[in-house]
C-alpha cells in the first residue's frame, strides 16, 4: 500500500480543470444552458424581495388593493417559472455529473486494459480500483455541482448587489463594502482548515489499518500478551484524531460565526443609516425592509463560492490521479508497423496472424524490473523447443515469475531478445502472442458469471460439447455436474461458490479449451485435499502434453520429470538442470527438496499405516 500512498494534496494550474476539457467538451452546450438558466433563477431569486417592497408600498401603506389579484398571479407565475427552471437545471446537473463520471470510468478502464504489467506491479489493486471508481465519481460531481454552485452563488450575489444599487445606491454601498471584508475572512479561515482536513483523513486511514492489525494479528497479540501495548498505540491515535478534529471545528465554528456576524453588521448598518433616512423621509419603510432582507442574505453566496473553491482545491488530487492514469503510457507497446499489420488490443486483424508453433528462446537477455535497481537476469540464454517442459522453482517471493513474464511479454528484456518461433516477440502484436498462451494461476481466478462464461473465456465460440470435452480431459465434469444448473450455474464473485481445488480444475479446462501452444502454469500453494490434489496432478500432466510449458512449481515432487529445472533465489537463477543432476549437486535445490519431502514423508507414513 505504501508505495502509492502519495500526497493527498497537489496544486494544478486552474485546479486541474483544463486537463478535463476533453471530457467536458461533449457537454459544453448543456453546461452553457445551465449557466444561462442558473443566472435566470438567481435573478428571480434576487427580485423576489422587491415584490415584498411592492406589497408594503401599495397594500400596506398605500391601502390600495386593486392590483392585489394581478400581483398574486404574477408572483405565482414567477414562482412556478422559478421552480421549473431549477428543476431543469438540477436535472441537467445530475445528468452531466453521471455522464462525465461514466465517460471517465470507461476511458480509465479501457486504458487500463492496454497498460503493461509494470503498472500493476507498482500499483496495487485497491489503489487502481479507487482511481476507476471513486475518483471519477468525485470529478463528475465536481464539474457539475461545484460549477453550478459557483454560477448560482456568483450570479445571486451579483444580482443582489445590482438590485440594491437600483433601489438605493447610497445605502447599498454600506452593505457592499462588507462583502470583500467577509470574503477575506472566509479565505483566511479556509486556508487554516484545509491542512487540518487532510490530516484528519490521514489519521482516519491509519485507524483503519490499526483495526486491520488488531483483527488479522489477533493470534500473535494474544500469544505475545501485548493487548495493552497495542491498545495504547491505538488510543494515542484516536486521541490525536480527536485533538485535530476539535481543532478543526474551532476554526470552522469561528468562521461560521464570523460570517453570520458580518450579516448582522450589515443589518445594523442598514438599520442605522436606512432608519435615519426613513425618519427624515428620504426613504420608504418598504425599501428599508427590502434592504434588511438583502443584508441578512448577502453573506450566504459569498460563503458558498469560497466553499466551492475550497472543494475544487481538494478535488485536484482526484483529477491528478485520474488524468495520470489515463495518460500513463504502457512500457510494453506494439510498434506502429506491428499495429498496422496485426491490429491493436481492441481491433485485432486476425487475418494477418501467423500460426504459432511454440519454440521459445532467450537470447542474451538482461532484465531489470522497471521499478527495480538490479538486473535479475544477466546475459541469460535458454532454448525451449516446442513441446519442452520447463520447471521453475524457488521460495515465495524469490522471483519465479520473471521468466514467465518475459515469455508472455508482460515485460520486455532490458537488452537481448526473446524469440518466439525464431522471431523477436516484438515483431508481432501482444494480442497475437496472448491468444496463443494458456495461463493457469496459483490462485485460480474465475470471473463472476456462469461456468460456461468462464470456460468460454478461453474460446469465445466454444460449443457445449467442446466445453464438456475439455472438462472431461481434466476430470472436472464432476464439479459441474454437482452444481445446480450445470454449465449455467453461477460461480459467484471471484468463483466464491467453488472450492479452491474446483476452481483450479475449471481454470485448467479453460486453458485447454483455448488450445494454446504455450502453457504457463503457476502451481497452487494452498493445500487441497488429497483426492483433488491427485486430480490436479493428472490435469497438469494432460494439459502440458505436446505443448511448450513453463511450470512454476511449489511441490517439487511434481516436476521431477521436467526437461529442465531452473532454481531461483533472490531474483536470480542459481541452479539449472534436470532433477537428478540438481540433487547430486547437494545445493539449494537439494535443500528445498529434502525439506519438502520431510512434510510429505510424514503424511505418507501416516496414511500407509
Amino acid at each position: 500500500m505504501d508505495g502509492q500512498e502519495e500526497k493527498s494534496y497537489v496544486r494544478l494550474p486552474w485546479y486541474g480543470v483544463p486537463r478535463l476539457m476533453p471530457y467536458i467538451r461533449p457537454y459544453r452546450k448543456v453546461l452553457l444552458s445551465m449557466v444561462a438558466l442558473g443566472c435566470l433563477s438567481s435573478l428571480i431569486d434576487a427580485v423576489f424581495p422587491l415584490f415584498n417592497r411592492y406589497a408594503l408600498d401599495t397594500f400596506v401603506f398605500g391601502r390600495d388593493l386593486s392590483s392585489a389579484p394581478a400581483f398574486a398571479v404574477i408572483y405565482l407565475l414567477l414562482l412556478v417559472g422559478f421552480v421549473m427552471i431549477d428543476f431543469v437545471t438540477l436535472y441537467w446537473c445530475c445528468k452531466v455529473e453521471i455522464n462525465i463520471g461514466r465517460d471517465l470510468k470507461n476511458t480509465a478502464f479501457s486504458h487500463l486494459q492496454t497498460l503493461s504489467f509494470s503498472y500493476f506491479n507498482q500499483n496495487n489493486v485497491g489503489y487502481v480500483h479507487s482511481r476507476i471508481m471513486s475518483d471519477t465519481a468525485r470529478i463528475g460531481g465536481l464539474i457539475s455541482w461545484r460549477f453550478m454552485d459557483i454560477v448560482w452563488n456568483g450570479s445571486w450575489l451579483l444580482f443582489m448587489i445590482v438590485m440594491m444599487l437600483i433601489v438605493d445606491a447610497y445605502l447599498a454601498m454600506f452593505v457592499i463594502v462588507l462583502v470583500p471584508v467577509t470574503a477575506v475572512i472566509i479565505v483566511l479561515f479556509q486556508r487554516k482548515l484545509l491542512p487540518l482536513h487532510r490530516k484528519i483523513r490521514e489519521i482516519n486511514s491509519r485507524i483503519t489499518s490499526h483495526f486491520n492489525e488488531g483483527i488479522t494479528g489477533a493470534r500473535s497479540i494474544k500469544t505475545l500478551v501485548i493487548e495493552e501495548r497495542m491498545e495504547g498505540g491505538f488510543f494515542e491515535e484516536t486521541e490525536g484524531m480527536k485533538r485535530v478534529s476539535v481543532h478543526a471545528t474551532r476554526y470552522s465554528s469561528f468562521f461560521l460565526a464570523t460570517v453570520i456576524l458580518m450579516g448582522s453588521v450589515a443589518l445594523s448598518l442598514v438599520l442605522m443609516v436606512g432608519g435615519g433616512l426613513t425618519i427624515e423621509g428620504a426613504m420608504r419603510i418598504s425599501t428599508l425592509s427590502v434592504f434588511t432582507t438583502y443584508a441578512l442574505n448577502i453573506m450566504e453566496p459569498v460563503q458558498g463560492i469560497i466553499e466551492s473553491i475550497s472543494q475544487l482545491i481538494q478535488v485536484q488530487v482526484n483529477i491528478e490521479r485520474v488524468t495520470r492514469l489515463i495518460t500513463t503510457e504502457s512500457d510494453v507497446a506494439d510498434s506502429e508497423e506491428v499495429i498496422a499489420k496485426y491490429g491493436d488490443t481492441f481491433e485485432p486483424k486476425k487475418e494477418n496472424w501467423e500460426e504459432l508453433h511454440g519454440d521459445v528462446a532467450f537470447e542474451d537477455v538482461t532484465f531489470m524490473y522497471p521499478d527495480g535497481d538490479e538486473n535479475v537476469l544477466e546475459h541469460f540464454d535458454l532454448n525451449v523447443p516446442h513441446g519442452t517442459n520447463i520447471a521453475i522453482v524457488g521460495e515465495t517471493g524469490a522471483g519465479k515469475s520473471t521468466l514467465v513474464n518475459l515469455v508472455c511479454r508482460f515485460f520486455e528484456p532490458t537488452s537481448g531478445r526473446v524469440l518466439i518461433d525464431g522471431r523477436d516477440a516484438r515483431e508481432r502484436s501482444q494480442l497475437w502472442l496472448h491468444s496463443n498462451i494458456g495461463y493457469v494461476l496459483q490462485t485460480p481466478h474465475l470471473f463472476s458469471g456462469s461456468v460456461r462464461d468462464n470456460l468460454r473465456y478461453g474460446k469465445e465460440d466454444a460449443t457445449d460439447e467442446e466445453i464438456m470435452e475439455a472438462l472431461r480431459l481434466v476430470s472436472a465434469e464432476g464439479v459441474v455436474k454437482k452444481m445446480k444448473g450445470g454449465l449455467d450455474a453461477d460461480v459467484g464473485e471471484g468463483g466464491s461458490a467453488l472450492s479452491t481445488g474446483e476452481k483450479q480444475l475449471l481454470s485448467f479446462a479453460r486453458a485447454i479449451l483455448a488450445d494454446p501452444r504455450i502453457l504457463v502454469l503457476d502451481e497452487a500453494t494452498s493445500s487441497v485435499d488429497t483426492v483433488t490434489e491427485k486430480a490436479i496432478q493428472d490435469a497438469i500432466a494432460t494439459v502440458i502434453k505436446g505443448r511448450t510449458s513453463f511450470v512454476i512449481a511449489h511441490r517439487l515432487s511434481t516436476i521431477t520429470d521436467a526437461d529442465e529445472i531452473l532454481v531461483v533465489n533472490d531474483g536470480k537463477i542459481i541452479e539449472r538442470g534436470k532433477h537428478k543432476a540438481l540433487m547430486k549437486q547437494r545445493g539449494y535445490y537439494y535443500d528445498l527438496y529434502t525439506r519438502q519431502f520431510a512434510v510429505q514423508s510424514v503424511e505418507h507414513a501416516v496414511t500407509a499405516q
Binding site: 483503519t208 500469544t223 465554528s253 453570520i260 525439506r595
Partner: protein, 618 residues
C-alpha cells in the same frame, strides 16, 4: 459493495450479552461525552432564541421608532429606553439600535461557537470512546471469534457503522433538537404576533414534512438499487484488476471493456433514475416552501391593509418565517435518515455483545515452574469431530520435546490449548502446569509463561526493531542483539540498508517465509519465557540455519522447556523426548532411539526421509 454484502448477511440473533438493547449500548458509549451534548443542546436553545431577536428589532424599528406605535418591549429594556428619552432619543441616536443589533449578534456568535464546539467535542469524544471500546474489546475476544468472522466485515463495522452512529448522535439528533427548538420558538413568536398567520404556517408543516418523508422512502429504495449496480460495476473492475494476468493471457481485453461499459451504462441509468426522483422531490419541496412564504406575505399584507397587524409586526413575521422555513424542510430528511441508523447500531452491538476471554474468578498465581502435564485430554471444535482423543503425556521442566504428526493430527490444537487460546471443557480431561490446572490460571500469566512462535507468523506494520521488541518495550540493544543472533536473523538485518529501522509487515519490505519465521523467533526469545513452543516455525528455514538456531537455543537457553513441532526428523532427533501424534491420538512416545527401535510410524518416516537423502547419492 462490501457494505451491501455485509448487510445482506444477517447476524445471528443474540439472546444474551452485555447490552440487551441498542439504547443501553448508546448510553454506555455516551459516558464521557454526555455533558458536551447537554451543553450544546442548551446552546442550541439560546442560539434559536437570540436568532429571533433580529426580526424583532427590525419590526420594533419600523413600528415604534420610525412609526408611531407604542413600545412593545420586555420591561427592563422598555424602561431603559423610556429613561433615555424614548422614541425621540432613538430617532436621533439610531446607532443605539445598531449597537444593540451587533451586541445581540455577538452574543449569537458566542452561542453558535459554543454550540458547535460542544457538539464537536461531544461527537469526537463519542467517536473515540466507541472506537477505543471496540478495539480493546476485539483484541480480547477469543481466537475462535476471529476465526469465525471476516476481517473486512468487522472493519466495516468499526469504521463506517461507527461513523454512522456518530453522525446520528452528533448531527441528526442534535440537528433534530435544534431544528425542533427553532421551529417551536419561531411558532411561539408567530402566535404572539398573529394567530391567523401562525396557523397558516403550522398548517404547512405536515405538508412539507410529509412530502419529504414520502420522497425519502422512494429515494432510499432507488439508492439501494444504485448501490447494488455500483457494486456490480465495482466487482467487474475488481475482477479485471485481480485477474489482469488471465485477461492478458487470454487476450480478452476487448470483451472486458464491453462487459464494463455495459454495466457502466446500467449503473448510470439507475443513478439517473435516482436523480430524477431526487430532483422532483427537491422541486416540490422548494415550491411548497416558497408558496408558503407567498401566502404569508400576501395574507400578511392584506391584514396590514385592514389594520389587523402593524407593518413592523408584518415585517417581523416575514423575518421569522424565513428563519423557520429551512428547518421545516430539513425535518423530513433528518427523520428519514435516523431510521437507517438502527441497522448500524445493531451491527456494532453484535460485536460488543460477543464475550471476551475471561479468567476464572478464583484464579491462582502462576506456579514458578514445573512439569506440564496433559491428562486424558479430549477436544473438538464446536460440534465437529474430535481433534484430540484421550491424549496424556508429561513434559518435564527444562526438557526439549519434539512433536511429530501429519496434517490434522492435532499438534497445533494441543499447543493452542496449552496457551489457553481455546478453553478445554470441564469434562475433557485436564492440563496442569506445576501441578495446577490451567483452568485456574490467568490467561495472561500462562501466555507470559509460555512463548509460542506460529507457523505463519504475523508481522506488525512497524520497523523490525519494534516488531522484535514489541512484547518487551524496555529491551536493551544487547538483549535485542542476542535474540536476533540466536534466531540467525543478524545477517538479514545487516543486509537491509536501514537495519533495524527497516519497515516490515503489510506496508514494508516483503520478507521471505524463513525471514518472517526467524523474526518471530527473535520476537519470542526476547521475552525469555520459561517455556518456548516452536509450532512448525522452522519449516521455511534451510536445513543449515535450522541446525544453527537449535544449537544456539540449546546453549543459550539451558533452563527453558522447549517444545518443537516439526516434520524433519533431523530437527527432532536430538530432543529429550519425542511425541508422535496420529489423527488426534498419541501414537508413539520416547527418545529417538527408542522410537526407531519400535519400528512404528516414526521409524517409517525416518526411513523415508533418509532414503530420499540416500537415493540421490547413487
Amino acid at each position: 459493495m462490501k457494505r451491501i454484502m455485509a448487510q445482506h448477511k444477517k447476524d445471528p440473533v443474540l439472546t444474551n450479552g452485555r447490552f440487551t438493547n441498542n439504547r443501553e449500548m448508546l448510553f454506555y458509549f455516551l459516558r464521557g461525552s454526555k455533558r458536551y451534548f447537554v451543553l450544546s443542546a442548551v446552546m442550541a436553545m439560546l442560539l434559536a432564541f437570540s436568532g429571533l431577536v433580529n426580526p424583532r428589532v427590525i419590526g420594533f424599528t419600523v413600528d415604534s421608532v420610525i412609526g408611531e406605535e407604542a413600545f412593545d418591549l420586555p420591561g427592563v429594556l422598555g424602561n431603559a429606553i423610556t429613561n433615555l428619552g424614548g422614541r425621540e432619543y432613538l430617532r436621533t441616536h439610531l446607532w443605539v439600535i445598531a449597537l444593540f443589533v451587533i451586541g445581540v449578534a455577538l452574543l449569537n456568535a458566542v452561542f453558535r461557537i459554543f454550540f458547535r464546539m460542544g457538539n464537536s467535542r461531544g461527537a469526537e469524544t463519542l467517536l473515540k470512546t466507541m472506537r477505543d471500546d471496540l478495539y480493546a474489546h476485539i483484541i480480547r475476544l477469543p481466537f475462535t471469534w476471529h476465526g469465525a468472522h471476516q476481517t473486512g466485515d468487522i472493519i466495516q463495522r468499526c469504521t463506517s457503522d461507527v461513523e454512522t452512529v456518530k453522525a446520528f448522535l452528533s448531527e441528526q439528533l442534535v440537528m433534530l433538537f435544534r431544528v425542533g427548538v427553532l421551529i417551536l420558538l419561531g411558532i411561539v413568536f408567530m402566535f404572539r404576533i398573529n394567530l391567523t398567520l401562525a396557523v397558516i404556517t403550522v398548517a404547512f408543516i405536515p405538508v412539507i414534512v410529509g412530502n419529504s418523508l414520502y420522497f425519502h422512502r422512494k429515494i432510499a429504495k432507488a439508492f439501494k438499487i444504485v448501490d447494488e449496480e455500483e457494486g456490480r460495476l465495482s466487482a467487474i473492475a475488481q475482477e479485471n484488476l485481480t485477474g489482469v494476468r488471465v485477461v492478458r493471457a487470454f487476450g480478452r481485453e476487448r470483451y472486458e471493456r464491453e462487459r464494463f461499459e455495459k454495466q457502466n451504462d446500467v449503473f448510470a441509468a439507475s443513478d439517473m433514475r435516482l436523480s430524477r426522483i431526487f430532483v422532483v422531490f427537491w422541486s416540490i419541496g422548494s415550491f411548497l416552501s416558497r408558496f408558503q412564504i407567498f401566502i404569508i406575505m400576501f395574507a400578511g399584507a392584506l391584514m396590514c391593509a385592514f389594520d389587523v397587524i402593524s407593518a413592523g409586526h408584518y415585517i417581523e413575521f416575514m423575518g421569522i418565517n424565513a428563519m423557520v422555513s429551512w428547518p421545516i424542510r430539513m425535518l423530513g430528511r433528518i427523520i428519514s435518515q435516523m431510521s437507517r441508523t438502527g441497522v448500524s447500531i445493531e451491527r456494532i452491538r453484535y460485536i460488543m455483545n460477543a464475550e471476551e476471554e475471561t479468567d476464572a474468578a478464583d484464579a491462582v498465581p502462576m506456579p514458578e515452574g514445573g512439569d506440564i502435564v496433559f491428562d486424558h485430554v479430549n477436544f473438538a471444535y464446536g460440534d465437529k469431530g474430535r481433534v484430540l482423543k484421550d491424549v496424556s503425556f508429561t513434559i518435564r521442566a527444562g526438557e526439549t520435546v519434539g512433536i511429530l504428526g501429519g496434517t490434522g493430527s492435532g499438534k497445533t490444537t494441543l499447543m493452542a490449548l496449552l496457551e489457553k487460546l481455546y478453553d478445554l471443557p470441564e469434562e475433557n480431561g485436564r492440563i496442569t502446569i506445576g501441578g495446577v490446572d490451567i483452568r485456574k490460571l490467568k490467561r495472561s500469566d500462562v501466555r507470559a509463561h509460555i512463548g509460542m512462535v506460529l507457523q505463519e507468523p504475523y508481522l506488525f506494520s512497524r520497523s523490525l526493531q519494534e516488531n522484535i521488541t514489541i512484547a518487551k518495550k524496555d529491551a536493551t540493544d544487547a538483549e535485542r542483539d542476542e535474540a536476533v543472533q540466536i534466531a540467525s536473523l543478524d545477517e538479514t538485518v545487516k543486509g537491509f540498508s536501514r537495519g533495524y529501522e527497516t519497515m516490515v509487515g503489510e506496508r514494508g519490505v516483503t520478507l521471505s517465509g524463513g525471514q518472517k519465521q526467524r523474526t518471530a523467533i527473535a520476537q519470542m526469545l526476547i521475552r525469555r519465557t520459561p517455556v518456548m513452543i516452536f509450532d512448525d516455525s522452522l519449516s521455511a528455514v534451510d536445513t543449515e540455519t535450522d541446525e544453527k538456531i537449535r544449537e544456539a537455543l540449546r546453549e543459550r537457553t539451558k533452563d527453558a522447556t522447549v517444545i518443537l513441532i516439526a516434520h524433519r526428523i533431523t530437527t527432532l532427533m536430538l530432543s529429550d523426548h519425542i511425541l508422535v501424534l496420529d489423527k488426534g491420538r498419541l501414537a508413539e512416545e520416547g527418545t529417538h532411539e527408542e522410537l526407531l527401535a519400535r519400528g512404528g510410524i516414526y521409524h517409517r518416516i525416518y526411513e523415508l526421509q533418509m532414503q530420499a537423502g540416500l537415493e540421490e547419492e547413487e
